[in-house]
């Protein structure tokens, strides 16, 4: 059972770099929380501090101030690292290794016993669809295959905290779907996931919440779905509905002919539509409501 300290918690994180004699503050007091089983998206323009934030969380950089607590422990605690997975944007590791040897090395470093490592490696290679290339050197892998091997090394020890930096970069549509599936699997397993991505459509599909980082601070936070629920936007024919009745059924007031309803399943949508139709309301369209991430981006540009 998750308690208050479980998951990832960041308070007042600050990080500066000394550039040409002066201090350049990249993170100016970032707060964030990621609960177990939650996927948090991190978006923002280049130079916003996303990679710096992720580097601090992973212990690559030492913050100048603030606090990072993961499952009640400091982020550089070995037990935390034992349960941490990381996919960097660029998979630039030693390309002379074969995919299998590389994964085995990563598995052993992650603390998987030698006798179990081979089995786990094979399972990951198969799951990620690169079993046929297992004996090839990484130098012969395409960018998409390297991304898959990167995902494999991050997931091989079944982490509880997953940090993904542009995990779909360079992947074909099948690869993108696979990564989406994998993230969903981790979410179901109760993994706290931080996803740094410029691909807003992808962020929208897999994230529960989104933080927009701008100028070293969290400029905006958006909840995309909550406790397995999602929003649908139902567009109504003007003058065809009783606003009070619609509000009672959908749970929200009508605005500009559109009412938002929070649902759990497709069946819930059908039920609401049926009830609205029964009141005589004309329904023009029903579609999943998503946060306007592009709008957020433009708004802060």
């Amino acid at each position: 059972m998750a308690d208050d300290s479980s998951g990832i918690h960041v308070r007042g994180l600050r990080k500066s770099f000394r550039i040409k004699g002066g201090d350049h503050e990249v993170l100016k007091g970032v707060d964030l929380d990621i609960a177990p089983g939650e996927v948090l998206g991190l978006i923002g323009p280049n130079g916003a501090g996303k990679t710096t934030l992720m580097s601090c969380l992973l212990g690559f950089l030492h913050p100048n101030g603030g606090e990072i607590v993961i499952d009640g422990r400091p982020n550089d605690d070995l037990d935390v690292r034992r349960r941490t997975g990381f996919v960097p944007e660029r998979m630039n590791f030693d390309r002379r290794e074969t995919g299998r040897a590389f994964l085995r090395y990563m598995a052993r470093l992650a603390g998987i016993p030698a006798e179990a490592a081979d089995e786990r490696v094979q399972a990951m290679l198969t799951r990620l669809g690169i079993a046929d290339a297992a004996e090839k050197r990484l130098s012969q892998y395409s960018r998409g295959m390297l991304q898959r091997i990167g995902m494999s090394q991050a997931l091989i020890h079944e982490p509880q905290f997953l940090f993904l930096d542009e995990p779909t970069s360079g992947l074909d549509p099948n690869g993108v779907l696979l990564v989406r599936e994998l993230i969903e699997e981790q979410k179901t397993r109760g993994v706290a996931v931080l996803l740094n991505s410029h691909q807003l459509a992808e962020v929208e599909k897999v994230c529960d919440r989104v933080l927009f980082l701008h100028g070293g601070v969290v400029a905006q936070a958006e909840t995309l779905r909550h406790s397995g629920r999602f929003a649908v936007a139902i567009t109504l024919l003007p003058d065809s509905f009783d606003a009070a009745e619609v509000a009672r059924i959908a749970g929200n007031a009508v605005e500009n002919g559109v009412v938002l309803a929070s649902v759990e399943t497709e069946a819930d949508i059908a039920e609401i539509v049926r009830e609205l139709a029964a009141t005589g309301a004309g329904i023009i369209g029903v579609k999943r409501h998503t946060a306007d991430l592009e709008g957020i981006f433009r708004g802060h540009a």
């Binding site: 280049n46 130079g47 916003a48 501090g49 996303k50 990679t51 710096t52 580097s55 992973l58 212990g59 690559f60 950089l61 030492h62 070995l78 037990d79 690292r81 034992r82 941490t84 997975g85 990381f86 960097p88 944007e89 660029r90 998979m91 630039n92 590791f93 030693d94 002379r96 290794e97 090395y105 990563m106 052993r108 470093l109 992650a110 603390g111 090394q153 940090f163 930096d165």
Partner: protein, 223 residues
């Protein structure tokens, strides 16, 4: 990690090409009266080549960041990498020694004392060389570690060769001290004090390397 490092070397064609060359050279120099003529130098060169890859290049390639999120203490990782490289170098030294031993067995008596003394020097010296490269690599990127290692050696040599008479005695003594400790010449014969000096210097280098590496920031990518 020790054996992973060793495995990477023994799976490398370049490594075996180099080591085979050392063996052949060892057999070849067995025709020369003076024992252990050339291959011990190649052992040191192998230590430089293999040791150059510790930390600095891993930082630049991005491998280091993948390693550092794993549940391994930085110091443990660094020392393990050093140990793995040293084992790979020792394996090369064994091949060189074997080459010369076989060559001398064919042609006449084997000067065991001289050969084993040279082997011991080369293998112990390799620990110092690799430890120094790890120390330089602990705070630099890419192959700056090997540039520093060779650069310092050259600078010290040049100062002593061209400016010795003009330097204050204390400075010349200090430079000679640094040179003897970091880049020692082989002793004429088996010398326990020399071995202890090398090992203690290597230990100091590793302690500094561990400290610097533990404190080091290892950013990846860029926003």
């Amino acid at each position: 990690m020790v054996f992973e490092t060793l495995r990477r070397h023994v799976h490398s064609i370049a490594y075996w090409a180099y080591v085979s060359f050392m063996g052949i050279l060892g057999a070849g120099v067995s025709q020369i009266e003076r024992p252990a003529t050339l291959w011990p130098t190649l052992v040191t060169l192998l230590a430089i080549i293999a040791g150059a890859r510790i930390i600095g290049p891993e930082f630049a390639s991005g491998t280091l960041q993948l390693v550092l999120v794993k549940p391994v203490k930085r110091c443990t990782y660094l020392v393990s990498r050093v140990a793995g490289v040293v084992l790979a170098v020792w394996l090369g030294a064994v091949v060189g020694l074997t080459g010369e031993t076989v060559g001398r067995l064919v042609t006449g008596p084997v000067p065991w004392d001289a050969l084993l003394s040279a082997f011991l020097f080369a293998t112990i010296d390799a620990i110092l060389v690799v430890s120094l490269l790890a120390m330089f690599g602990s705070f630099t990127r890419g192959y700056t570690n090997v540039e520093l290692y060779i650069g310092i050696q050259i600078v010290l040599l040049m100062i002593l060769a061209f400016a010795r008479g003009k330097l204050p005695v204390w400075l010349a003594t200090a430079i000679k001290f640094v040179q003897n400790n970091l880049f020692p010449d082989a002793p004429p014969a088996f010398d326990v004090d020399w071995l202890l000096l090398i090992l203690s210097n290597a230990a100091i280098a590793l302690v500094i390397a561990c400290f610097a590496f533990s404190k080091r920031e290892v950013p990846y990518g860029a926003d």
